[in-house]
Symmetry: C2
Subunit: 71 residues, 2 copies
DNA sequence: ACAATAAGTATAATATAATAGACATATAGT
DNA sequence: ACTATATGTCTATTATATTATACTTATTGT
């Protein structure tokens, strides 16, 4: 799986550490780290929670990230 | 959790049964049924697979469905 | 040089998504 | 009345997301 650089960058834009984002989303730091590094496949509810904290939508952070770019 | 009526309706718009959608997405019928009925919280990769089959995006089917409507 | 924070990673344990198999109901076609 | 399909639901099992603990490296501030 590819890294999720849009997540990493959106988090950086809010100047949040992985730890702070994790606590806000109600998960552990390892989970945020693993998502950013593409180590696994989070639940959609967790994605939604993360997006709301970062002020983004699902499409902006999770759509067509790890994909073949479609064109 | 609330039902996902947008999923049910998008599937109906393509005249697909739960079984056919499940096979196309590589999961079982029970999984599709459970998502439509809000019985659990699918992985984002499965959501993406479903959206692509139905010609929709994550935001159109999974964003702000089971939420407090924000306003 | 020391202390503190951020990030990456690994392992073992726990929670839950997802499967497999089965049964019930309703509808539509013959 | 029979058959087939679609949906809903239940139980038990398997796969995997997520946790908890811990160690490492890099960076920044004092």
């Amino acid at each position: 799986m590819g890294k999720n650089l849009r997540l990493k960058s959106s988090r950086a834009a809010k100047d949040m550490s992985q730890k702070v984002l994790a606590e806000a989303a109600g998960v552990t730091r390892q989970t945020i780290n693993a998502i950013e590094n593409g180590d696994y496949n989070p639940s959609v509810n967790l994605c939604i929670a993360i997006c709301k904290i970062l002020g983004k939508t699902l499409d902006q952070i999770f759509w067509e990230d790890d994909e073949d770019a479609e064109k």
